[in-house]
């Protein structure tokens, strides 16, 4: 009870809506974290096949940006894409079932981890060829402009994609035609195992993208409140000024490039470096803020953790119990009849 009294006293100035939003940011980041912790386990049990790229450590970026979108805005991403759909509110059961390759999955078990789609939530695809999402997202922004709508597009990709030729072509056309797209490079320091210093002639990626006639800047993406603040401003700018924006988001993945990455840590980055970044884990960072400002109690945060763990467990059970796609599904969706 004393905690509750304490909260009331310290946060009298925080409106309920803001309080609820902050809690929701926390819940979403934790959901992604717990969801992916389960994925990692399921991958080792061969329940998830192919490649599995985890977003662990980078949750603040997807959650901070996506929380500021309008419902009809669009999001596209690269193949490290579980965080985007969960932040957009896709049903965790359908996401997990897709990773398990089941017919109840978002893509009927035919896309897998690297190729998620959720058209209802306006997630128009995870793209598994490095850099290609940049071009396709530019086209989705083209459609928004063509239709004269107020929609904007978020396009997430990794620092490795900075070196794909399509980035240059796309940013040029987006600048030329003033397309409402926010390019967000997740600079987690490594393109697989190659550090930025060894793959980019200029390591300031915002600077590299600064020559196409629209704004470009670097933000800290380890703190969801920072991300949310920038996202609000940048999204508003793009919607108002009808022009693209480039964001270099400084972030870090706490786990290997893929779940099968046995070289990390040690081969291309040190355990010490990972530990150093883990001190900036966005989830405890937000928890600390919530507690210190009396927005939530530890009991409440624990309850959220129990809640998301239950959601993940239910998703896993659903995925486990769902059937494989029937064999005739093999021939479905090659063409629209």
């Amino acid at each position: 009870m004393s905690t509750r009294t304490n909260r009331t006293k310290k946060t009298a100035h925080i409106p309920d809506a803001e309080r609820a939003e902050l809690i929701e940011l926390y819940r979403q980041m934790l959901l992604i974290r717990r969801f992916e912790e389960h994925c990692d386990k399921a991958y080792r049990q061969d329940k998830i096949g192919g490649y599995l790229h985890l977003y662990i450590g980078e949750e603040a970026l997807a959650v901070g940006f996506i929380s500021q979108l309008n419902p009809d805005d669009r999001v596209l991403g690269h193949y490290r894409d579980h965080g985007y759909v969960l932040a957009l509110g896709s049903d965790p059961k359908a996401v997990m079932a897709e990773l398990y390759g089941k017919v109840t999955g978002l893509c009927r078990g035919k896309g897998g981890s690297m190729h998620l789609y959720d058209k209802e939530k306006n997630f128009l695809g995870g793209y598994a060829i490095v850099g290609d999402v940049i071009g396709i997202a530019t086209g989705v922004a083209f459609a928004a402009k063509y239709e004269g709508s107020d929609r904007i597009v978020l396009c997430f990709f990794g620092d490795g994609a900075m070196n794909a030729g399509l980035l240059h072509e796309s940013l040029n056309m987006a600048g030329l035609w003033k397309l409402p797209v926010i390019y967000i490079v997740e600079n987690n320091k490594y393109a697989m195992g190659t550090p930025v210093e060894l793959h980019s002639a200029v390591t300031n990626l915002a600077k590299r993208a600064s020559v196409y006639g629209f704004p470009s800047e670097t933000i800290d993406a380890m703190d969801v409140l920072e991300v949310r603040k920038h996202a609000r401003r940048i999204i508003d700018h793009v919607r108002t000024h009808k022009e693209p924006y480039f964001v270099e988001a400084i972030t870090y993945r706490f786990v290997g490039h893929g779940a099968a990455d046995i070289t990390d840590p040690g081969s291309y980055r040190t355990r010490e470096e990972v530990e150093e970044w883990r001190k900036r884990d966005p989830i405890p960072t937000l928890a600390k803020y919530l507690l210190e400002n009396g927005i939530a109690t530890q009991d409440e945060l624990d309850a959220i953790d129990r809640e998301v763990r239950a959601v993940v467990e239910e998703a896993a059970r659903f995925a486990d119990e769902s059937p494989d796609p029937p064999l005739d599904e093999l021939w479905e969706h090659v063409f629209v009849d």
């Binding site: 058209k119 290609d132 396709i136 086209g139 083209f142 063409f335």
Partner: protein, 323 residues
């Protein structure tokens, strides 16, 4: 019916579909102010303005990716590639995305778009501007492949292509642009997967498409003088492909020749041969022959170029060989 050139027929289809559906827009290099390298889009920028006719930078992967993105979010892009040889730059976009998004999204996302432009030899454009591309595209599940030979077919098939819910690769032979034929006015669409028997005959069947149809028709005229009657099947669309019409003809003539400009080795002719031997083997009285492009990069020299692509006399000789 009015007589029009092949490129006028294409333009007519574009105009009619742009008038019919505001979501249809054109995109490509120098298609607007410059009015197109082969002037297929002549006057369209002037007629529709920059909102419907988009001049792009020289960025094939970029603007084809944009078209794919626009298509998955509800528009109907019609992209011109200045030549299909340049589309090799964008094969990643075409093969990895346009062809696969429907499937990998489990049917959630459609890619209703058309990529059209010239492909084929015969203009002394040498090795990098003369590719036939149909085989590369037809090999990839998820792409429809349309390759007409007459102005009327071009119009009817392009209108169908623009209305199709799938990515349609529409291939125009540069040597056909100025050929003429009667073209139905207004609403005229042709279904995909319906071959056209361009000429009926009893002695042998020539299975072909695009420029090959014109060559086959000339060959047929010469053979007729010797009392040989060949049947000519214009496949018109390779995906989907109307094999039943082919088999029906083989059951009548018992002899088949596949003709195309594209390289012989592992070309579409090989698929034609395989389909016939799998489904109509018992009706054959002779080996199936292929008259196809020489397996060399296209040379510049006119004399050499001529020998690198099928000629009427090659078809005549092949027919005589199987009789």
């Amino acid at each position: 019916m009015a007589v029009k050139t092949f490129r006028e027929a294409i333009r007519e289809a574009l105009i009619e579909e742009m008038d019919r559906d505001e979501r249809v827009f054109l995109m490509g290099e120098d298609i607007g102010r410059y009015q197109g390298t082969f002037r297929v889009t002549e006057g369209l920028f002037q007629k529709y303005g920059p909102h419907r006719v988009w001049d792009t930078p020289i960025s094939e992967p970029g603007f084809i990716a944009i078209a794919i993105g626009a298509a998955i979010d509800g528009l109907r892009p019609v992209v011109e590639v200045m030549t299909w040889s340049f589309a090799f730059l964008a094969m990643d976009q075409i093969v990895n995305h346009a062809a696969k998004i429907l499937y990998k999204s489990g049917g959630a996302c459609r890619v209703p778009m058309v990529i059209r432009g010239p492909a084929g030899p015969g203009k002394q454009l040498a090795s990098q501007h003369s590719h036939s591309i149909e085989l590369w595209l037809a090999h990839t599940p998820g792409l429809k492949v349309v390759i007409p030979s007459t102005p009327a077919d071009a119009k009817g098939l392009l209108k169908t292509a623009i209305r199709d819910e799938n990515p349609v690769m529409f291939i125009e032979h540069p040597q056909l642009y100025l050929t003429k034929g009667e073209v139905p006015e207004g609403e005229y669409t042709l279904p995909f997967g319906v071959a056209d028997v361009k000429r009926e005959g009893r002695d042998a069947t020539i299975i072909t498409y695009s420029r090959g149809v014109l060559l086959a028709q000339q060959a047929a005229e010469r053979l007729k003088e010797e009392g040989i009657e060949v049947e000519i099947i214009d496949l018109r669309t390779l995906v989907p492909c109307d094999w039943e019409t082919v088999f029906r003809s083989i059951r009548k003539t018992h002899r088949a020749i596949a003709v195309h400009d594209d390289w012989r080795y592992a070309g579409f002719g090989a698929e034609i041969v395989a389909q016939i031997q799998e489904h109509a083997f018992d009706y054959l009285d002779a080996p199936i022959l292929r008259v196809a492009g020489a397996d060399v990069p296209m040379p510049y020299n006119k004399h050499l170029e001529r020998h690198a692509v099928p000629q009427v006399e090659d078809i005549v000789a092949a027919v005589k060989q199987v009789l």
